[in-house]
Symmetry: C2
Subunit: 480 residues, 2 copies
């Protein structure tokens, strides 16, 4: 937490410093600053400027090698404003220094007229790649890959490879993984830069390359790409098109963004809110309403079932209003118990600890622990609910605190009520945990997103069923 | 999903292949396999063996340079069994090839007698480091760092640096980031390997090093370390002790594990289940019960408040049982609305989109959107609840379906009830969203974990307050 505070303070001070340097036209100091401060900090500091012309001034005065990443890190709405102030030549120069995948990310967020201008001014050799990348579906390997990678022939010696990397590697997204092709331009291996450094200079790349390299297809889901990079501790993974040709790479830093994005999606779905596209502070209240309201309405409509069940048992409830007092605790506990299982399922599937093929193993395992948990809670509940009644917290008119004596009839009634509530609770817990396994595992089995079963949806399902069980048993036990 | 299925099939086949090679004592083919298949796949495949002696056979026949990572990737309980079968010499040889941080990770999971044996057989130069690492508190930078890094003097030339790296770098966790010290052994910069490759051979490290390098303290929380590595796209970050000396590094692949661990923790806390230490399938039913039951019990006890409130209003409920029908929908909707906000808060804080310093900005923002959302839902609810009553889904005895005609008195009662429920709903939503902001932001402000406010806890808080509001208004409106 300390670091965070420091960070936001650091950015604030940086904003002031840069503004001062620009106002006093202290170009020398400004250039120095861009050499020694991390680009992301500079970008966040400048994003606070009231006047974007100041950023335009920076882009015009500081060398593009120091502003390339700085520009990439600026928020899209500021980029949009800046581009309006730039001549075509200046825009072309900035785009020249950008990586293809970063330009593509921008194009997806900028308005159409700006997109046209950017595409017109992008260097020719990049334009084809950009157009191709733009065509890949969102959240696929193709949409997050970059086309700037080092590819060398397999009969090259290590010394020559290092020379070649020195010559051409500067504009590549990474040189830590070199992709090795045969004469037919087919990917046959990868060489990590450290292996290249340690290798004998005369050795051929084919001698030292990893032949067990991993690849993904352009259409693979980005989550799959992330799983592979994580599992094999890769610096970059090769992306092949449908013909098996190497068309791009995804690097580990892009994968970290994917992991975060997917995690946000999981938590959002779990709580049934549409994930925000922008950061929280950048999202308007109106957008927030749009992300939240539809789901609450859906759940409210589903909640009608609960109301219907309760209403159906209205006469029974009328005969024994004490039953109402335990409705919240039954509903909540069932939902809470299932919620725990949902958390375990979502993480297990996300971390690939198990797959839908383990369906029966998981069901068995969860059934055993759910049964034990249900029994424990029911036993505890029985004691607790008895105490509640005994102490007069519920059913106060029969309580000892009001001077009633403990007698056999009262005891029998109390135990019967506690038994009813505890029994329902146990069944609700077991049921809830089973639904919490079945739905996500079933979804994963038919290749749907396992996050389909959100906590609120589960709560609604469990509410209706536990109310039915509750009143069903109540009718039997108390002859209502 | 396809990849996942393929992966588990691949592992299954690999298990068979390796077992066959061992059974037929085909050492040559076995050694080849260990050169061309990723270690993590081999480890997972061998973990399926019924007889761990087969793994011992592998460790004795395949060269340790190919089994080092393989051994690291084996599950701890299998390591424990294997170590029992190894002589001290064999154990020492395996430990020789392991990274210090991996040995430490193992030691934290192994039983005491095995720990003693491991420490006795670990190479002397590693023992001091291991003992130091073991002393760092869990989840700090010190506990996840490794001590195998490349540190060079700042007046070294780039050519000499590369020579030195070639000589000593093989046993280091990474050579992609070189840490640069001055004569006083103080860290003064870092050099990325690619910059070293591109640099003029005669240039000094001090000329090309990044002076804006990031560092963390050994006692910093691992989440903070992860945030820095992510933010600045680092390959490795320097860990300093309290005297400012470089004592270790944390690499990007360790950071990915931290990110996953923290995410699991966030989702688990959100759903109020103690995070599992092992993977789901490896966790016994008994452990599962231990992780789940305490929280359900806590929530059940807290649920007593709801029961108490309902019981207090028992006589009012008796006068108008119709009120009970809407209790589930009010309770659920309040909880659901707040749950959405919790998801946004937890992700925002985790991704450092905002900090506790933005407290008032966030509160204002959330208050505006919560108010709009509450109004929207209340308006929708009013219409929906009226329809429910009109259609006889609730309060069936007064419904049109039972032949009752629509008359002024019935209409007035219906609208009054709908108004009561919708109004309570609106207030509950607003309240719930406010609590969902205040608790995590407050926790973050006093440097506690913002995940303190779980969905179930929020539900319980909202339940009690909305029931109070509901019956309070009901008493006023219907003179109960």
């Amino acid at each position: 937490m300390e670091e965070e505070l420091e960070l936001s303070e650091k950015i604030e001070q940086l904003t002031e410093t840069i503004e001062q340097l620009i106002d006093t036209k202290n170009v020398k100091e400004l250039r120095h600053l861009f050499e020694v401060v991390p680009e992301i900090d500079l970008a966040e500091a400048c994003a606070e400027f009231k006047d974007v012309k100041k950023i335009v001034f920076i882009l015009k005065t500081v060398k593009s090698e120091f502003t390339a990443e700085f520009f990439t890190d600026l928020p899209p709405e500021i980029k949009e404003e800046i581009i309006a102030y730039l001549s075509d030549d200046q825009l072309a120069e900035i785009l020249e220094s950008q990586f293809t995948d970063d330009i593509v990310d921008d194009l997806e967020e900028l308005p159409a007229n700006i997109v046209t201008r950017v595409l017109r001014n992008v260097p020719k050799e990049k334009r084809a790649n950009i157009n191709r990348l733009l065509n890949y579906a969102d959240a696929t390997a193709g949409s997050i890959m970059t086309t700037e990678f080092v590819a060398l022939l397999d009969d090259m010696t290590c010394d020559d490879a290092i020379k070649e990397i020195r010559k051409t590697g500067k504009n590549k997204e990474t040189i830590y993984t070199v992709f090795v092709m045969d004469r037919k331009r087919t990917l046959v291996g990868t060489v990590d830069l450290d292996d290249l450094i340690f290798a004998d200079g005369d050795a051929k790349l084919s001698d030292i390359m990893n032949k067990d390299f991993q690849t993904v297809n352009v259409n693979d889901d980005q989550e799959e790409v992330a799983n592979i990079v994580k599992r094999y501790d890769l610096n970059a993974v090769a992306v092949l098109n449908n013909d098996g040709r190497l068309v791009g790479i995804v690097t580990v830093d892009d994968v970290m963004d994917v992991i975060e994005e997917e995690q946000t999606e999981d938590i959002s779905k779990l709580q049934m809110v549409t994930p925000l596209e922008d950061s929280y502070l950048e999202t308007s209240s109106f957008q927030m309403v749009k992300k939240c309201v539809p789901w609450i309405v859906v759940l409210l409509i589903l909640g009608t079932f609960s109301s219907f069940v309760l209403s159906t048992f209205e006469t029974k409830l009328n005969q024994m209003v004490l039953l109402a007092a335990f409705i919240p605790v039954i509903m909540d506990t069932g939902g809470n118990a299932g919620g725990q299982t949902i958390a375990l399922m979502i993480r297990g599937l996300a971390l690939q600890e198990f797959t839908p093929r383990d369906f029966f193993k998981i069901i068995r395992k969860e059934a055993v622990s759910a049964a034990i948990i249900a029994l424990c809670i029911a036993a505890f509940g029985f004691i607790w609910f008895t105490l509640e009644q005994y102490a007069g917290i519920v059913g106060s008119d029969t309580s000892i605190w009001l001077g009633n004596c403990w007698n056999a009839e009262f005891a029998a009634e109390t135990f019967k009520t506690s038994g009813l509530v505890a029994g329902t609770l146990g069944i609700a817990i077991f049921l809830s945990k089973m639904v919490a396994v079945l739905l996500p595992m079933g979804a994963a089995a038919i290749k749907k997103d396992p996050a389909i079963v959100s906590q609120p949806l589960l709560t609604t399902i469990v509410d209706v069923s536990s109310l039915l069980i509750y009143f069903g048993f109540a009718a039997l036990l108390f002859n209502l």
